[in-house]
Symmetry: C2
Subunit: 227 residues, 2 copies
């Protein structure tokens, strides 16, 4: 019986996720669901990305947290629209939470919405929230064994950001094993080693993201021309 209730929740969630995706796609907005463990560096990656790209891409951020607005305050300092969703203890964002805040964004002016999910390698992977792609951040300080231990979130990711590479000399992280395990789960994934602290590797991440945003804009233009 418990399983049945879970299935119903997921069905309803997927319906709402489709609505959210359809609405934002209609505006040509690329939507990224950013996932990862607590402290993997999701907010740091976002801060760097906004600072680097905000002049060429119009970005808004939706921050998911159990409590507090600490992450939203960090993003707000960079001068882009940000909305905080507090789940009140809930372990993931769902599509309804995202849908409920969309009217608070000026969608006509946006190219990209990044939704930073609750820090958790398990539950967020089970809920679509209307995104175009999921991106998973893994800090190298978490260890190379995490992809096989938490496979779903690595299987679903279009890109995996391997963060905190500046700490590689001080840890026993085996990058080769991590890369092999992630690609065995997900052969088409884009792997992006970066250090948000030193900036190493971030240009490749920015280029990947800009390509995705540009492709979405192009798709909107093609659709408009066909009508």
């Amino acid at each position: 019986m418990e399983i049945k209730v879970m299935a119903n929740i997921l069905d309803k969630n997927d319906q709402i996720a489709n609505h959210v995706h359809h609405r934002l796609s209609g505006q040509g907005i690329f939507v990224l669901n950013l996932m990862g463990s607590p402290g993997s560096g999701k907010t740091s990656l976002l801060e760097q990305t906004i600072a680097a790209l905000k002049e060429e891409i119009h970005i808004a951020v939706i921050e998911g947290d159990l409590f507090t607005s600490k992450d939203a305050e960090r993003i707000e300092g960079h001068g882009v629209p940000v909305i905080q969703i507090n789940t009140g203890g809930g372990c993931h964002l769902d599509a309804d939470m995202v849908q409920s805040v969309l009217d608070r964004l000026d969608l006509d002016k946006l190219d990209l919405i990044v939704i930073e999910n609750v820090g958790n390698l398990v539950c967020p992977a089970e809920f679509n929230i209307g995104e175009d792609v999921k991106v998973t951040v893994l800090s190298i300080t978490e260890g190379e064994d995490k992809p096989l231990k938490y496979p779903l979130i690595f299987k679903q990711a279009s890109a995996v950001v391997l963060n905190k590479t500046d700490l590689l000399p001080y840890t026993s992280f085996n990058m080769q094993a991590a890369v092999e395990d992630i690609t065995s789960l997900n052969p088409h994934v884009t792997l992006l080693p970066v250090s948000c602290r030193t900036g190493e590797g971030l240009t490749v991440w920015y280029d990947w993201l800009k390509e995705q945003v540009a492709a979405k804009k192009q798709l909107k233009a093609v659709n408009a021309a066909c009508k």
Copy 2:
């Protein structure tokens, strides 16, 4: 309706947790529920602890993971009984999972059972599994903002292990803020800064753990004398 189902699951879980706790307390076994983010160092802490204490304390380990038996294999190498529970994607251990494996342990010969929960700062905090105490491991690489962002798991902990202190010089972790936030949530918590890599601080952790185990044995002896 969804909330009601959740409440029922929790009630049933607490009943089973009470059974587990009663059974193990009757044997004088101290039970520790070890929680923390993926990669915070729970298994490393356990490996060090077993290596240091297995001659004086009879330890068994129950390993909780979504998939794989990687952690159980690490523990097995240290020559103590270990049981792997795979949740099959589930984000936490529950009391029924623990109860179902107890018969596979020789309880007459044990002083301490450590149950390593699924790596997750959210969901494990909501489920008692028959433990005497919960211990939360926070890696300093996760950042000092985590206690206020994930308060429940820090409120419930009898001790918080602040791991990977060897990386403090290479990060911007603010130890004073972390300590203030954790103690504001949980004034009676024991804070244990350690490095499982260098061994720094581990002796204080061992002493804390030995005290808990000894107190449990003493309680059993007092109860036996009163009968």
